[in-house]
């Protein structure tokens, strides 16, 4: 099996994403949506559903297309490129968590609506301590009557205001559990909109105190597996968004360097600007290769997939945040204005970097995976880099 594969279906997904985003995610459209209250466009969401995007990696029997999870990258990457923001990420994570950790009945209850676009869903996994580790939630669940009572706080519950369903992770008697709760059932005032650096995103803090939920809201399957899946899939999709975003911000910057004249010359002719762009491109090519490798083997080999995933998120993060930083600088005075689109990428890059583990987090986690004697990596195939071809 090859280290990187691109199926025909994936190619089609990517193409349809390109067309859709061209139409719906111009800079103007992005700015319009970010200035709106919910940041959401219901009509557009319907179109996305019609294209089948919301069931890509959900089981066929529940209305999904049952494609490999890695195929989602073919959507997330162009979304990043076009600065698209929608409940796609939140809904996809929730759907996949149900697919991994929900019982057949729970899946049958929720997944068809998700796959069809009728149900917008989201996940409440991170907490005020800002930890990216999702496996040990501190929001507390207790048994109460026939159901449970939840107490605690969650952060960055994306698109919660427009979501129908919220998956909330909790600690129940010393082990992690996940509860699927209808947003409408949340107490008044439980959600507070956060101020995020990415203005296109909508995040909410969730505070509950003795919030009672029914017995059937608890996912019956493997909750730790569902949380691990959310951690990995979140990192993969955000890495894809970052690789796409880097492409977008490179385009914007290069276009400026190709047309702006200072001191009588196109500024792209200055090595002080040209060479850093080449450096960015070189890392971008690498990050993109890591990303598609991670997508290819996402479900193939858990150990190597973890390595690939962490590498992809780490390098994509370094590259996008740097490229966006340079985009501001290389646009000169214009780059510093709200009006210049570079800031949209800059804010998005910061948001993505600190979502699902920043570069440092993933590199730190790679240390034992790559350096311990007898680690999975040691026995795995390593390629010879660069050098003269033929070598």
């Amino acid at each position: 099996m090859a280290d990187i594969e691109l199926s025909e279906e994936q190619g089609m997904l990517a193409n349809s994403a390109g067309d859709f985003l061209q139409k719906h995610s111009s800079f103007e459209a992005v700015r319009q949506r970010l200035a709106s209250d919910s940041g959401h466009d219901a009509a557009m969401w319907k179109e996305m559903a019609a294209l089948g995007w919301l069931g890509v990696a959900l089981p066929e029997q529940h209305g999904g297309a049952d494609m490999p999870v890695g195929a989602l990258v073919s959507l997330a990457e162009p979304m990043g490129r076009h600065l698209f923001a929608s409940p796609f990420l939140a809904t996809t994570l929730a759907g996949r968590m149900l697919a991994v950790g929900g019982s057949e009945a729970q899946q049958a209850r929720w997944l068809p609506g998700i796959a069809s676009g009728e149900t917008i869903a989201t996940v409440a996994l991170t907490e005020p301590d800002g930890s990216w580790e999702l496996g040990a939630p501190q929001l507390r669940a207790e048994r109460r009557g026939g159901g449970y009572a939840l107490r605690g706080s969650k952060t960055f519950v994306l698109d919660a205001a427009v979501a129908d369903l919220v998956l909330i992770s909790a600690e129940l008697e010393g082990v992690p559990a996940v509860f699927a709760v209808e947003r409408a059932a949340l107490p008044d005032g439980a959600l507070r909109r956060e101020v995020l650096i990415d203005e296109a995103r909508r995040g909410y803090r969730l505070d509950v105190d003795d919030f009672e939920v029914g017995a059937d809201s608890r996912l019956d399957g493997d909750a730790p597996a569902a949380l691990d899946h959310a951690y990995r899939l979140g990192a993969l999709l955000v890495a894809a968004e970052m690789v796409g975003g880097t492409e977008g911000v490179m385009d914007l910057t290069l276009e400026y360097l190709r047309t702006r004249v200072q001191f009588g010359r196109l500024i792209g002719s200055y090595q002080a600007l040209k060479h850093p762009m080449v450096d960015i491109m070189v890392v971008q090519e690498q990050a993109r290769s890591l990303l598609h490798h991670a997508a290819t083997i996402f479900e193939r080999d858990a150990g190597l997939a973890e390595v690939a995933l962490r590498m992809a998120k780490a390098m994509a993060g370094d590259c996008y945040t740097h490229a966006a930083d340079r985009a501001i600088q290389f646009h000169g005075g214009t780059g510093f204005t709200y009006e210049c689109h570079a800031q949209l990428f800059f804010r998005r890059a910061q948001f993505c970097e600190y979502s699902f583990g920043d570069s440092r987090h993933h590199r730190r986690r790679l240390e034992p995976l790559l350096l311990e004697e007898g680690c999975v990596w040691e026995s795995a195939h390593r390629l010879v880099p660069g050098g003269l071809p033929g070598g």
């Binding site: 991170t126 005020p128 301590d129 800002g130 930890s131 990216w132 580790e133 952060t155 960055f156 956060e194 101020v195 995020l196 650096i197 990415d198 203005e199 995040g203 803090r205 200072q262 001191f263 010359r265 200055y270 002080a272 600007l273 945040t321 930083d325 501001i328 600088q329 000169g332 005075g333 214009t334 780059g335 510093f336 204005t337 709200y338 009006e339 210049c340 570079a342 800031q343 800059f346 910061q350 948001f351 970097e353 600190y354 979502s355 920043d358 440092r360 987090h361 590199r363 730190r364």
Partner: protein
């Protein structure tokens, strides 16, 4: 300045002065306002921010703690530079607000003192110190950011007046300013583009001057676009001579870039300190543990402390001729580049200590340090871009300090 060099104070005199300043600051440090203050004069975005800061500068002026080295006859203190150094350091230690009339105090004032007529000094200097008259700068234009020599704003003589037309951009304090240091083209037919420029001390609270606030990437305001449409200014508004505006502008930039002495003093911005980032690293958690326990964070913090320390020590070494023989002006010339880039990198790093909460922004009650570092990271670009981008600073250093050929 033509006055006799003021006497160097004895250590005892300085100590006594330090005690006095410290006591004054303790008694007079203003209460923090109930709104968020900007981090520098380039970020003054609301009238209430402006008035708070103007009042503070005025208070400092009345106490006689800025312009200590400026000539007495124009409202300064006529003292040795060591006195102002004491004030600046004590202000930094006391963490008081910065001066708001920075362009006047640091750039326009010094260049007027250097090149202005007696009448101009009398007219402008004292009111710069008191913050009665705020100054702004009109160098950049929409089509020429760093390429100042290409200024397209025109000044045409008409009787006793000059008539201005054109647009200046990035004018900070533009809505509050009474005067602008302005580079305009007075001779479009001059043999080189540099020779046709003249430097004006222009009123900007007059008819024909239109100011449009520019929204910054932070979402705040602070800069303006200033448009001149047949704006008429007095015939004697020129600093230096007609057609020699380029060299006056270059002299101004030497002050702006910290490469020449003569500023009035006082704090010019809220300093970003590595100590605060060390403290942040203790307070913020990454994956459940204080960020400061992460080995990569520790290594980075050490590098930042080292760099901050080294940059501080450069200011000390710079004053010892025997230790700067190779490149006497290197440290002064590099101040702008290294100071602004350091701030950008430090703010970016500070965000990385915050774990998932790094995505929170100003205004969120949970944002670490109130989103200070996120705002600072973005605002940092105004200084790595304004006053000649870092890339241009490197050209200048390569050419003037290292003697390398000009880059085209």
């Amino acid at each position: 300045m033509s006055e006799a060099t003021p006497a160097r104070p004895s250590p005892e005199e300085l100590d006594a002065f330090r005690t006095e300043v410290r006591a004054w600051l303790k008694d007079n440090k203003p209460e923090p306002p109930d709104f968020q203050l900007p981090d520098s004069f380039m970020e003054v975005g609301t009238p209430e921010q402006f008035e708070y800061l103007r009042a503070w500068q005025h208070k400092v002026y009345e106490a006689g703690y800025i312009g200590l080295t400026w000539p007495k006859e124009y409202g300064g203190g006529g003292l040795h530079g060591l006195y102002q150094g004491v004030v600046n350091r004590e202000m930094g230690a006391a963490n008081v607000p910065f001066m708001v009339n920075i362009i006047g105090l640091m750039w326009a004032g010094p260049v007027i003192l250097q090149l202005g007529t007696h009448a101009q000094k009398q007219r402008y200097i004292q009111k710069i110190l008191s913050a009665e008259e705020i100054w702004c700068q009109g160098f950049s234009e929409p089509g020429n950011g760093s390429d100042l020599g290409n200024a397209q704003t025109t000044a045409v003589r008409d009787g006793d007046e000059w008539v201005l037309n054109g647009t200046k951009i990035w004018t900070s304090l533009g809505t509050e300013a009474k005067h602008m240091i302005l580079l305009a083209r007075t001779d479009p037919g001059a043999p080189s583009k540099y020779k046709g420029l003249t430097f004006f001390l222009a009123p900007v609270d007059i008819p024909g001057v239109h100011k449009t606030p520019i929204q910054k990437m932070t979402g705040e305001y602070g800069f303006n676009e200033t448009r001149f449409e047949d704006a008429r200014i007095p015939g004697d508004s020129i600093l230096g001579r007609e057609g020699e505006g380029w060299s006056v502008a270059m002299a101004t930039l030497m002050f702006e870039r910290g490469a020449a002495e003569g500023q009035a003093g006082g704090l010019s911005m809220v300093p970003l300190r590595v100590d605060d980032v060390v403290q942040l690293a203790r307070e913020c958690k990454r994956d459940g543990r204080p960020a400061i326990e992460d080995p990569e964070v520790r290594a980075e913090l050490v590098r930042f402390v080292m760099e901050e320390r080294a940059l501080g020590l450069c200011q000390v070494r710079q004053r010892i001729p025997g230790l700067v023989t190779e490149r006497p002006h290197a440290i002064m010339m590099m101040n702008k580049l290294v100071g602004t880039e350091f701030r950008r990198r430090l703010a970016r790093f500070a965000i990385s200590l915050q774990g998932a909460n790094g995505v929170l922004y100003m205004g969120d009650p949970d944002a670490p340090d109130g989103g200070h570092w996120q705002r600072n990271y973005m605002n940092a670009f105004s200084a790595t871009i304004g006053g000649g981008t870092s890339q241009i600073q490197k050209n200048i250093l390569g050419e003037r300090v290292l003697g390398l050929a000009k880059s085209y």
